[in-house]
């Protein structure tokens, strides 16, 4: 994984030997808060949870080493675990593309706007201010209930209480809150120097051509960021499912996503060892997916700082 993740070193360091080797000192000064936080607040707890994943730990009594038992149990004896895996994958496949597409389309629409930009941006962001709070979950359950607005409009019945539809209602809550990727897209669009468009226009490029040759490559680092982060976050979706599924992933386990089941195992059933093992399997899976994304990024992500090297 490490090799695939190396962002710039691989390209900037190896072929072109810099005239002067930079000193490392300044880098560590900039990094020092991060290093301290990474060791004390991140690495240490991560190491503990990795250790716990090989133990039987009920939160209160000291953990007992059980080797790979949690992992074996997860993969071979727990059908609910596998259901949570499929539920999560379905969720990722629905929520990530929809949310990103919506965020990008709205961001592009706003960019091309001369008037009312600030108004639209704020209005489209408004749902994201709420997070998946309890009140918004209750609203969601009302809107998607039997006899609720969606049922009245489309006659589909309530979504939140039908196993076949509930996950879609959860995904739509995430999609609805597309403000974060939208703002990141907007910031990225903002950062594209106007000269590039002017130059392209001088070369006779039309709007579409400008979009393809200027916007897309210049926006690609941000698009990549959004893709990676939204994917990671989608794999870990918890709050919307927790809030809409009344805390237990209902109806009939249809919204029992991975981290919700992990929480259930760890904090409700007090099998923190098992929950830790689940967490590390998830880390490995997300890590693999991210590594693939990083690898493909070499062919489509363009960094201005390296573009002409």
């Amino acid at each position: 994984m490490t090799t695939t993740l190396i962002p710039t070193t691989a390209r900037t360091a190896s072929p072109k030997r810099r005239v002067k080797r930079e000193r490392q000192g300044p880098a560590w000064v900039f990094l020092s808060p991060w290093v301290l936080g990474a060791i004390v607040l991140t690495l240490l707890p991560m190491a503990v949870s990795l250790y716990l994943s090989f133990t039987d730990y009920d939160l209160f009594n000291p953990p007992r080493w059980v080797g790979l038992r949690n992992y074996v149990q997860m993969f071979t004896e727990d059908p609910r675990y596998w259901r949570s895996v499929t539920t999560t994958l379905t969720y990722v496949v629905i929520a990530v593309p929809l949310q990103l597409a919506l965020a990008l389309v709205v961001a592009l629409a706003l960019k091309s706007m001369k008037r009312g930009k600030a108004f639209y941006r704020s209005a489209f962001y408004a749902p994201s201010l709420l997070g998946a709070s309890m009140s918004i979950a209750l609203v969601w359950r009302a809107v998607f209930n039997d006899g609720g607005t969606v049922d009245n409009l489309f006659g589909t019945g309530g979504w939140v209480n039908q196993p076949g539809w509930a996950l879609l209602a959860v995904a739509l809550l995430t999609v609805w809150q597309f403000g974060a990727p939208m703002v990141i897209f907007l910031a990225g669009l903002q950062q594209i120097p106007a000269e590039l468009y002017e130059a392209a226009a001088v070369d006779g490029a039309g709007k579409w051509r400008q979009f393809l040759s200027v916007t897309v490559p210049m926006l690609s680092p941000v698009l990549f960021f959004n893709l990676v982060l939204q994917t990671i976050q989608a794999f870990q979706v918890f709050t919307p499912a927790f809030a809409i599924g009344a805390g237990k992933g209902g109806p009939a386990d249809s919204t029992l996503v991975y981290t919700l089941y992990l929480y259930d195992r760890g904090f409700v059933a007090s099998h923190m060892g098992y929950a830790s093992a689940m967490a590390w399997v998830l880390l490995l899976v997300i890590g693999a997916v991210t590594a693939v994304l990083f690898r493909t990024s070499r062919s489509w992500v363009f960094y201005a700082s390296e573009g002409d090297r």
């Binding site: 993740l5 190396i6 490392q24 808060p33 936080g37 990474a38 706007m113 600030a118 749902p127 997070g131």
Partner: protein, 286 residues
Amino acid sequence: MTATAVTRKPVRWGRVALHVGCLAALLVMLYPLAWLLATSLKPADEVIASLDLLPRHLEWSNYSTALDGVNDVSIWRLLSNSLLIAGGAVLGNVISCSLAAYAFARLRFRFRGPLFAFMIATIMLPHHAVLIPQYIIFNQLGLVNTYWPLILPKFLATEAFFVFLIVQFMRGLPRELEEAARIDGCGPFRSFFSIVLPLTRPALITTAIFTFIWTWNDFFTQLIYLFDPDKFTLTLALRQFVDASSSSAFGPMFAMSVIALLPIVLFFLAFQRFLVEGMASSGLKG
């Protein structure tokens, strides 16, 4: 009149369509928010049971109950606690994440690749798995029931999301300015403060906005680390209205949700305009 009409540009139908489309989308988008507002004015027997948008009569007492605060803690206290935490978090994230991001994006040091990979990996572990070890650490440091567990991590750049975000923006900047500055004898520190930081302003504003909103809404961490009701936040307090095991007051909970929404709306409105001035005003040409 005819003259002006003639000289005026022809109606841009594309633009009109754009606005119509956006407004239609907004109508759908804002419908649940309208529902939230309407619910905050519903009497108890309609809050959950009624599937109509509008309340049969307006129940303003939800707001007066919410404005009384919870457990002898006034709403102003709750509000200022929330502001303190969110403000501290914004400061911490903007400073520490931009520092770390600059190192990852521009400076060279040993193990940069592996460390970058590690940083990304830290956001892949579900936080429930590290909750208890983190709690033990803060407890051993004697920091439980203070705001430090909520703010200190932000000053230590533990939110890799933002480090990565700023890295991506910095990598989008052409190097020419910095190279020119270096030839003029400008070290990495000056280069960071006077060239890179101003140019990454959209990313920093984005960081500030998200940090503020997400910290504000972060029920879970606040729940775990705060004990004294005096130290509680709006987000914690509004959940105190709803206890399934005894009786709940959903109406005031909704009212307080709306009240809690106001500061973040204001924060967003105040800062979102800075998103506009990126490159354009800070001047790459300069």
